[in-house]
Symmetry: C2
Subunit: 410 residues, 2 copies
């Protein structure tokens, strides 16, 4: 008979978010009267703004007419690739360096196939689960049977032997010790960070690029929340740093900027300058891999993406992200009233709240029981997330106000 893929057996039971849903359903069944409000998942709640939505509608309509019908667009529409380069990178990349995808998470899954089972992963700890879980599935997280404690003992709650966890804690101001990165690593780095909300400064990113160049590593820079940056001194892309095109891939998405979580549209930048140890082009392998196991993003979504990058679309994106940042301000205010320490929420939609000495899942359960609020336990994002809770600012305003009221009324 067919054997189970041992790498899937090495995944911790239950992906974080389905597990949260399960606990929420259980609570709801016990307390049918409770009005549960979610601040757990980073799922957008506001409608897509009119100009961008009209482009999606127009994209769908085009498919109904012979003159404008289009089929496979594997590599992505050229107008979209050019607009991404122009708007996000000052035109620094050719369209052949910009790959259109159905979102960052899917891209990161495929990137792990690109690097293969021999790759050594280094991740910010805590971090978005796909970096570690995708590495596990690709066979790059070590052969030890599952989650067991990381190799040098300083990651707290346990981890995979083949993954280098780089703790980001209040002690290091949420920026990791880069001297721990081994030669030839794949460094997953997310800024604005999910879940901590920390945003790396220009000197910090310069140090990251230096570390990657020194160790012959490749950075996979996840900029999915870059549109939430309001402080002009903070870099919105890794390519603001000299040398990054020799050592970094960037992934980004329209999910959190234009409300495309359900529409599915993102991109990756793989510069031509990026090479493997043998001198082979990473861009060429990425192009071949995506042609082999992917068939492109929806062309309807791509027309929406083009609109999100024009002048009116950018204004709408600004307004939409401003709205969620307004939610974040309310949440920060409520936590302050309660004397709960937190970071994030200023240039990011996530607030990272500290509950010293507490177990994350216990705090999660308490918030659900007492206030009927769903959050995300920090330990779900990695060993160093223990004792923290992530609050997401994605929500309807009335719900956020009600949660803040419930929290501060007690």
């Amino acid at each position: 008979m067919v054997k189970r893929n041992p790498n899937i057996g090495r995944l911790k039971a239950g992906y974080l978010f389905p597990e949260i849903s399960r606990r929420r359903r259980e609570f709801a069944a016990r307390h049918p009267e409770a009005k549960i409000i979610s601040m757990g998942v980073g799922n957008t709640t506001e409608p897509i703004p009119p100009h961008i939505c009209a482009a999606l509608v127009g994209g769908a309509r085009r498919l109904g007419r012979a003159e404008t019908y289009s089929g496979y667009a594997d590599e992505g529409l050229i107008e979209l690739r050019e607009a991404i380069s122009r708007v996000n990178y000052n035109g620094a990349f050719g369209p052949e360096e910009v790959f259109i995808s159905d979102g960052s998470k899917c891209d990161i899954g495929r990137l792990q196939t690109l690097f293969g089972p021999e790759a050594k992963a280094a991740v910010q700890d805590p971090s978005y689960p796909v970096y570690v879980d995708g590495s596990v599935v690709a066979g790059a997280a070590g052969r030890e049977n599952s989650f067991s404690g990381c190799e040098d003992g300083d990651c707290g709650g346990g981890g995979y032997g083949g993954v280098k966890y780089l703790p980001c804690t209040p002690e290091n101001n949420y920026f990791p010790d880069l001297s721990r990165i081994e030669d030839g690593s794949i460094i997953y780095f997310c800024s604005p960070n999910n879940p901590t909300g920390a945003v790396a400064t220009k000197p910090q990113l310069a140090a990251l690029v230096s570390a990657a160049l020194r160790t012959g590593s490749i950075i996979v820079y996840d900029a999915a929340y870059s549109e939430y940056i309001r402080d002009a001194a903070l870099p919105k892309t890794i390519y603001e740093l000299d040398g990054a095109r020799k050592c970094a891939i960037e992934v980004n998405s329209f999910s959190k900027s234009a409300g495309f979580t359900g529409v599915r549209l993102g991109w990756s930048v793989v510069p031509r300058d990026l090479v493997f140890s043998g001198g082979g082009s990473v861009n060429a392998d990425w192009s071949r891999l995506t042609a082999t196991v992917f068939n492109g993003a929806s062309n309807i979504a791509q027309y929406g993406g083009i609109a999100a990058l024009d002048e009116e679309g950018r204004r709408e994106v600004r307004e939409l992200t401003d709205f969620y940042l307004g939610n974040a301000r309310l949440i920060r205010g409520a936590l302050k009233t309660l004397n709960i320490g937190c970071i994030g929420g200023d240039n990011s939609p996530y607030i990272w709240a500290r509950f010293p000495g507490r177990d994350s899942w216990d705090v999660f359960a308490e918030l659900l029981e007492k206030y009927h609020v769903v959050t995300t336990p920090g330990s779900g994002f990695g060993p160093a997330g223990e004792t923290f809770i992530r609050f997401s600012a994605f929500g309807r305003r009335a719900d956020v106000e009600e949660v803040c009221g419930r929290l501060t009324a007690h």
Copy 2:
């Protein structure tokens, strides 16, 4: 420095379809006056019919209103999963056994991650490239450095050591010798077949299911062209056969039925009865894997899919597939006039034409030079495809008529 994934190095240079595009561009540069017509790629050309297109437009509009906005729908809309089960499988599967995806090719890529690097692949030869290329990328095609000749010497032009090629030729009426399947294989089986256009009969599929049950193998049944079946005696799904839910996964898509090649929508069925050798549920692992590295199909596309499955949508799908079958009839007629033997095109949009003793790429070049027609060389689909050419019936009617005229006028 970071090493290249050796599995990607094992891929033959150039994915088939980009290679065809390259040769077409080269020819066009040399002959700017030539009116080149493509019958090469299986890309749809007809607009999406009105009822289905209206649902896509409506799906896009919903995202612009707060009351109907939706974000992540990872597992797929329940209405769509239920409609797929009802329309395609007489309701035989629960919604938790139907997984919505962005298309069959992407699903097959992820399925290879599900089975992992230890899986043994068996494929119809010739076959759609993703079965073999995806196995290569997943590390399941053997460690030999690239394409070198298959293990038992009967596959003709060479292949990967770790892949069992099952030749489908005129001699066996395009149905493979099932006794060659090894224990515990993943059997990729496509019917109506791409590229041959052959459709497996009910007794043939019964034999396939028996072989899978006997060898403890899992069938990955690609039914992407099932809507082209007109002969009521031919099965449209593997689940028409007893025992299939214990040994088969089915993948399917709206690409070729409703013209969704650019929209991106498909599904997989993974029955609860399907287990790995240790007794673990394949359905549970698939659910976990897709939650880890995928984020669901576009919700706009999903509303279109729901409409394609209602009464009016099914009528439109029938009309659209009838149109392409009409093209196929014209192509078959032209080949008959030229005394070129072929199969397919009656219950399938592909016609498989035989050029005994000739090299496929030479015939491809001759058709391009002489008639300015782009086709697909059979050898691109596997060793046993050598001496064949695939004609695709996806095209505008006027183009198909012109190609047929050019072919028969000479």
